[in-house]
C-alpha cells in the first residue's frame, strides 16, 4: 500500500453539522469509559518522583539518528541500523511508554524519521557538545528537521560500535541545548557495544527520561531518591531490563505502582463493544456530546443508532477527535435529527484493537 498527498480539493467542514454550543458549555459531560482502560494504578505509597513543573515532551517526535560511516560498512555492522530502527518502532508502538500517563499524561512517542548520516564520524571519545554541534550542523544543512512548532522533536543519536563518551562508564545520556533562535533542542546519545539488547535497553532509558524531564526541571526524584549525581529521573532507580514484544527495554519508576515497571498490555479480547451514552434529539435539531479519557492506544469506532422507530432516515452523525494531552482522546459526536419528531438514540463504541 502506498500513500500520497493530493491537493486540497474538498470543501471545508460540512455546513449541515455545525454542532451545538450552549452558554458556557461546549458539550455534555459523560462518564469516563470504564472496564477497558486497563491501567489502574497499584497501591499507593509516598511518591518518589514529583513534578517540578518544567517542560515535558507530551507526544515525542523521535528523530532517530545513526551517526558515522560505520553504519554503512560492508559487511554491515551488528546490529544494523535497520534492526535498531525496527526494535525502536516496536518500543514506540507497544505498551512500554503507556506508564508515563501518570506523569502529566505523557503519551507514546512516534518515529518521525530515521537517518543514517555518514558525512561525518563521531570523535572517539566524544562529548555532549560534539553531539549538539553535529545535530545543529545537520539541521542547518537540511538533513534533519529543525525546530518543531510544538517543540516535541527529540533527537536521539546511536553511536557506532566502540565509540564512547569521554566520561568513562557513561553509556547514554540526554540533555538539551538552546539554538540560535532561542529554542531548546532536546537530544541524547546512546553508545553501542554490538549487542542490540544493550542498545535498546539504553535507548528506552533515555527515551522515557527525555519525555518526562527533557530539561532537568519536570519529573524529578525527591531528596534521597537517587544516589548518583545529576538529574534524578525515573530511569535512574530502575536499572533492570525486561522484554516487551521481543525487544529488551529498561524499567522505569512508577509512583502509581511504587516500583519499577515495564508495562505490558492487559489481556483483552477485541472487539469490545458497548453503549457509551443515550439521549433524545429534538425534532430537526443537532446536539453534540463529548466523551473523554479514552486511551489513545485504542482504535475506536462509533455508531449512533435510533431507538425510536421511524419510517425513513432519522439521524446522521459526525465524530470529531480532540487530543487534550499525550495519553488520552476526547471524542465529540454531533448528532442531527433528520425528522420532525424527537428521536431517541444510543451511541455505540467498538474498540477494534490497539
Amino acid at each position: 500500500m502506498k500513500t500520497a498527498s493530493g491537493s486540497s480539493a474538498a470543501p471545508a467542514l460540512s455546513p449541515e453539522v455545525p454542532g451545538v454550543k450552549t452558554a458556557g458549555v461546549t458539550g455534555k459531560v459523560l462518564a469516563k469509559p470504564t472496564g477497558h482502560a486497563g491501567f489502574a494504578p497499584g497501591a499507593g505509597g509516598a511518591a518518589k518522583f514529583q513534578d517540578s513543573g518544567g517542560a515535558v515532551i507530551e507526544i515525542g517526535k523521535l528523530q532517530l539518528i545513526f551517526w558515522g560511516s560505520a553504519w554503512n560498512s560492508n559487511p554491515p555492522p551488528s546490529p544494523t541500523s535497520g534492526q535498531v530502527t525496527g526494535a525502536v518502532e516496536s518500543i514506540l508502538h507497544g505498551s512500554y511508554m503507556t506508564g508515563l500517563a501518570q506523569y502529566r499524561q505523557i503519551g507514546r512517542a512516534y518515529l518521525a524519521g530515521s537517518y543514517v548520516i555518514t558525512s561525518s564520524n563521531p570523535p572517539n571519545p566524544f562529548t555532549d557538545s560534539d553531539v549538539a554541534n553535529f545535530i545543529t550542523t545537520q539541521i542547518n544543512n537540511g538533513v534533519l528537521p529543525g525546530h518543531d512548532f510544538a517543540n516535541q522533536n527529540l533527537y536521539l543519536v546511536i553511536m557506532p560500535k566502540g565509540v564512547n563518551n569521554q566520561n568513562s562508564g557513561f553509556i547514554g545520556e540526554h540533555t538539551y541545548y538552546t539554538d540560535g533562535g532561542g529554542n531548546r533542542v532536546h537530544f541524547g546519545w546512546i553508545t553501542n557495544n554490538g549487542d542490540i539488547n544493550a542498545v535498546t535497553s539504553v535507548f528506552s532509558h533515555e527515551l522515557v527520561e527525555s519525555c518526562t524531564d527533557p530539561e532537568g526541571s519536570a519529573i524529578l526524584g525527591v531528596a534521597g531518591t537517587c544516589s548518583q549525581g545529576g538529574w534524578c529521573e525515573i530511569g535512574d532507580v530502575c536499572y533492570v531490563n525486561s522484554v516487551i514484544d521481543g525487544v529488551t527495554v529498561q524499567k522505569y519508576y512508577s509512583n502509581a505502582d511504587s516500583g519499577c515497571i515495564a508495562p505490558v498490555y492487559p489481556a483483552l479480547s477485541f472487539p469490545i463493544h458497548g453503549t457509551q451514552f443515550t439521549g433524545t434529539i429534538p425534532a430537526n435539531a443537532t446536539e453534540r456530546w463529548f466523551t473523554y479519557n479514552w486511551p489513545e492506544i485504542y482504535f475506536v469506532q462509533w455508531e449512533v443508532v435510533p431507538t425510536t422507530p421511524g419510517g425513513g432516515p432519522q439521524i446522521s452523525y459526525r465524530v470529531q477527535v480532540e487530543r487534550p494531552n499525550g495519553a488520552y482522546l476526547t471524542y465529540w459526536i454531533s448528532i442531527t435529527n433528520l425528522t420532525n419528531q424527537p428521536v431517541s438514540i444510543e451511541a455505540h463504541y467498538t474498540i477494534l484493537g490497539r
Binding site: G6, A12, F149, F290, E296, V300, E322
Partner: protein, 83 residues
Amino acid sequence: MYGVQFRGTLQPNQSQRWFTYNWPSNNDVSWMVVPTTAQAGSPHVDFDLAIERASNNTVTYWLTIHNLMGDQFDFEARYNFLN
C-alpha cells in the same frame, strides 16, 4: 494491531486530501485520524472518507482531513483490518 498509514501536518483551519492505494478489495478497512499534537479545549480534527474501486482487486481510499482549530497540528491516519 492497528497500523499507521501516514502522518502529516495541517495548518490552521486547513483541509487536505490524501489518497492511499493498492488496498486489497477483499479486506474491509476502518480508518481513524488522531492528532499527535496535544491541545485541550475543543475538537481538533475530523475527516471524510471516499472510496474508489481502482481495479478488480484493489481499492483506493481518499481521506479529506479537516483541521477544526486555529492552530497548526500534527496527526496520524490509523487503519485497522476488519476481516
